[in-house]
Symmetry: C2
Subunit: 403 residues, 2 copies
Amino acid sequence: MKVIVKKYGGTSVSSVTKIKNIAKKVVEDATRNSIVVVLSAMGKTTDQLVSLANRCTKNPDMRDYDLLVSSGEQVSISLLSMSIKDLGRDSVAYTGWQAGIRTNNSHSSARIIDINAKKIKKDLKENKIVIVAGFQGINNGSITTLGRGGSDTSAVAIAAALKAAECQIFTDVDGVYTTDPRVCSKAKKVDQMTYEEMLEMSGLGSKVLQLRSVEFASKYNVPVRVMHAHNSGSGTLIKKEEKSVEDALITGIAFTKDESEIMIRGVKDSPGIAASILGPIGDADIEVDMIVQNVGSDGLADFTFTVSRKDFNKAIQVIEKNKKKMNFSDVSATKNIVKVSLIGVGMRSHAGIAGQMFSCLARKKINIRMISTSEIKISVVIDQKNLENAVKALHNEFKLERK
Amino acid sequence: MKVIVKKYGGTSVSSVTKIKNIAKKVVEDATRNSIVVVLSAMGKTTDQLVSLANRCTKNPDMRDYDLLVSSGEQVSISLLSMSIKDLGRDSVAYTGWQAGIRTNNSHSSARIIDINAKKIKKDLKENKIVIVAGFQGINNGSITTLGRGGSDTSAVAIAAALKAAECQIFTDVDGVYTTDPRVCSKAKKVDQMTYEEMLEMSGLGSKVLQLRSVEFASKYNVPVRVMHAHNSGSGTLIKKEEKSVEDALITGIAFTKDESEIMIRGVKDSPGIAASILGPIGDADIEVDMIVQNVGSDGLADFTFTVSRKDFNKAIQVIEKNKKKMNFSDVSATKNIVKVSLIGVGMRSHAGIAGQMFSCLARKKINIRMISTSEIKISVVIDQKNLENAVKALHNEFKLERK
């Protein structure tokens, strides 16, 4: 029998009724496959625990914090185990430490070091359904947590340790879409994509899968399938690149709305100038996304970059404070911009995608403020008012509705 | 510094405010003593978890059940640890398994086998306040629980392992009283009593301390002090018997209201007759408390016993069903009885206590239905309507208000 790891998130286990529903599905699938289920805490449990912590102290010790929040999954796994046994199948539930998930000691954002899957393998041989608490592990006798969304990583890591045929991540969407259906009604579910494409998609706000879990899956070559927790359908399969799938030129269009743009004009173009501007920004814990530098004929440069909108005011303050050191003539900034990205491994072997993208936007009279490219992605920064138009036009241009 | 173990129950930790209050008291005491705190789950948490379990299955697997309910203490210990650190003291919180509490594998009613207190000793040396989850332990990698009220036993066991100077059980009463103040307003707090006396008192419904924890304390000679969680006062110290305290003749008067009496008349008095009556009762899982057998001159016996009121109807059914086998002429039964017990180690060396008790009740015209005695206890069964009169009269007779 094939080993399948199934991960259900907080919304899918937010009530006893939903947990019993999952038990039914799992027991049904267990007639065909060996099943390991990875669970998050029920619904808003983790948030509630965090709010209790915040009422005790402004600055909780992270070992205490992990001990606290890890109790949430302990509840959901035992309830699922009871519900499965109630249907007549044998099961066993493990916390992170019981399942042998060893992490480093970065409490509240720990990384998995290894998994001793001996117990789980033995249980699967004995035809038990194994249930593991996601999001948590152990370091030197102390409970650790992997940080928000860590259950995805737990599931992929367990799948890797078991050499599972597939790691199924159940969520509240049918799969990964070519773009956000709320912005472009022609958006279609993608049946299959590569790890790299998924990394670009999820890094840009298609928050279906935790970024780190995709990296993990890519590293250990674990096929991951994103599926709807309650609807039927085959979801989106994320796996390593195959030569044969090169006909899919573009996989999807991702965008982020929470960007803002800062342009510093009249900077003297000399070595180290980028560092003198970005250094203080980085010191203030502000993450810079895109960076563009233009040098004019007068030897002065325009230096443009984007930061998250929540950091916008802070960034402007840092710049004003360091005006002398940065030595520029003028700064202009806008919050009303968005980033739109075309993603697809097909770009690697097809020239002209960027040109096609830019002309498409030009025909729609959409001005491009910044451009950045990577091997499988082309991103442009445009005015927020053009977002919907741009996404729809590109979706049409690259025929994503026919996928 | 002396090691003091402090146990707080569910009501004392039912809110963040109460937890922060305990943190303050503990930090204050930690300037004088080395402190280990044992906690129950917050308020009604355990009940809520059990009700979730009952919605998943009628018959929960006990390993799953223990995994579920043990999450409750994990929450309270981490919140207390955060609150203590917020006051500037260092602390460390341990679940049962982290604290090295090894139990047998009787899930949901496990018994502690041993405690490896190495970690706790090291922490105390490093001047940390140690917080341990009560009610739970580990057996062969699986989380176990000690059953309701098990936190008292956890605290006493940890105190024994650390050879602590005292184990303080904080509760919602000032200590153990000579009798129930709601029945006799002259009831007084007892300053000191022996383990045996406490066993008789708590076994009879003075539900201040879990019975098993007193047995444990007696076995390992751990001084236990029952105190109010929020009021001041020195509570009741429970320790081993000392020759010098023999002047305290009677320690207290305990009573139980949930008794019922069944009298089977005209039983042929032959060997094995008690077994033929009590056998079917026991088979029906009904616990029998007092048993009295009178043989008349006609060679027929009256066989009287008490059972808990909740088992009354069931017991009557069992008797009717086995009438032939039991071979009796008549059965009479009453629910309206109570048991009143005089308790005190002083009885051992003082004759005449029983006589004094019976004459006191006779003077008040209170009829005694049944009598049973042990080394440090005399119990009588009387009509429920006489309960208050009897308790008040005995409290006066043995001058308990002067304690």
